[in-house]
Subunit: 319 residues, 2 copies
Amino acid sequence: MAGGSVGELGEFGLIDEIIRDLPMTRGVVLGAGDDCAVFSAEGNVAVSTDTMVADRHWKDTWSSPRDVGRKAVAAAVADLEAVGARPIGLVISLAVPTTLAADWVRDFAAGVRQECERAGAGLLGGDTTAAPTAVVTVTVFGDLQGRDPVTRAGARPGDVVALKGRLGWAEAGRAVLNRGFRSPAAVVNAHRVPEPPYGAGAAAARAGASAMIDVSDGLLADLGHVARASGVTIQLQTSHFDIAEPQRAVAGAIGRRDPLGFILTGGDDHALTATFAAGGVPDGWRVIGHVEAGEPIVLVDGAVWEGPQGWDHFSGGRG
Amino acid sequence: MAGGSVGELGEFGLIDEIIRDLPMTRGVVLGAGDDCAVFSAEGNVAVSTDTMVADRHWKDTWSSPRDVGRKAVAAAVADLEAVGARPIGLVISLAVPTTLAADWVRDFAAGVRQECERAGAGLLGGDTTAAPTAVVTVTVFGDLQGRDPVTRAGARPGDVVALKGRLGWAEAGRAVLNRGFRSPAAVVNAHRVPEPPYGAGAAAARAGASAMIDVSDGLLADLGHVARASGVTIQLQTSHFDIAEPQRAVAGAIGRRDPLGFILTGGDDHALTATFAAGGVPDGWRVIGHVEAGEPIVLVDGAVWEGPQGWDHFSGGRG
């Protein structure tokens, strides 16, 4: 059935639309459709939950329903990467207005499936209900493959800080969309759908990462969590950062921001940043700084960054 | 810090309020506060997610924040019981208006902890964000202790249908609250906080239950799922039901419903209903019917029930 509203489709019809013909993936013992789904696990299972709210975490005028579905999955799976786990699967809760077009839900579900496939995660089930505003919650679980989780608390003086993935692309995209533009496409697309470096978290864990986090709130904010949890000073060298051409173009066009601001404080790209013993950085990671004994703080070229420090979903400063 | 609004507390302050001093429970390797929590598992893990929306699944004029927290946990854990799993832990996502009193969140968190303790589930972590309407999503994980999950699909002709827990109490409570009354207290409290028969699901699985479901949408609706998944006819005998005095009182007071309607179509009590081979019903379960070969339907004293058939969260008829 195409067309119609969510209210016409009803709760069970909506669930059917989302879970229909789900592929069974590795580790999934019982898929969606019963009171629980069931997966098999041997050893430590990592779990994280992540919520997105319409008009706060996405705008329907900026992002397609497919984009929203992909983003919800990517943001949640990035938390598994950040502890070094390999995705097993996820469950999704979708609260939407009854007046919403059912095709929105179908396209959203298509995006969820697409990103699950990219991430190697099974879609195990979900719940749907009506709400005045659309709210999406994704809960992911992953296999630590017998390893301990890589936490935020293991950074040690002498370690180097390294990065895998993009920083400040989504924020540059948000900046242009916020001003009514749709280009450069590369950064606008980065805002719509993040590209976490799938697989890099488990690889970093195997390489002996001492601490790790995914950059969801901005590099300074997220490395600040590592500095506090580990009780160390983190020194970043801006000469090590790669400022991409679209970021320079956006900073120039909006006429008021050093592109470095995107890199240091832009969230939502879900790059991974981790600390490693010197000499232990895996291939494909870029060294961006180092760890020192000292007060728990992140310094940029030896000084406190004076610009904005990422954003808080409740203060809403940049949402 | 007491008092204040959610907006003043901020996202990280709010998370701190919820996860502060969480007890570490059996199986929890890494608690809240990092990108993921970690639990240990050996074998099949059951997972389910359940969402509640303000003014749809609860009313702040009827239920305290503590009631809402307890109800969210109980409803989610009941899905684990329904496949025969023992709770390991849960994660919770809370989206709330920034103008909400922070004390609401503190009392809600107290309710979550209280019910986690009752259910034997660890609180592993969560996510908080701002939204125009409060939305709570609980995702639970359970240990099948080496057993296969008890699904809805295993009922066989010749089995008996049995019940553990209460039916129609929450619905009777909703009926009186909806008319502006606050008593009988027993049914009003049942609406506010369900009392799933914790532990009975795993016990039923050990006893060889062939199919099982928790009664969240109403007995007829939920046994309808079993009848369809198993391809059988389910016959219920109303003489086997226990209609409690408060239910008779409410039906009399509101002057229009047979109390049997509460029993057959009232949701939200999260009793367990299961099918067993004749002679295999565990102690403490009440036999309420039997399974026959035939079209997938539930009959009441041999006939189709003509009253309402439970409720759909999207059609909103009785929400």
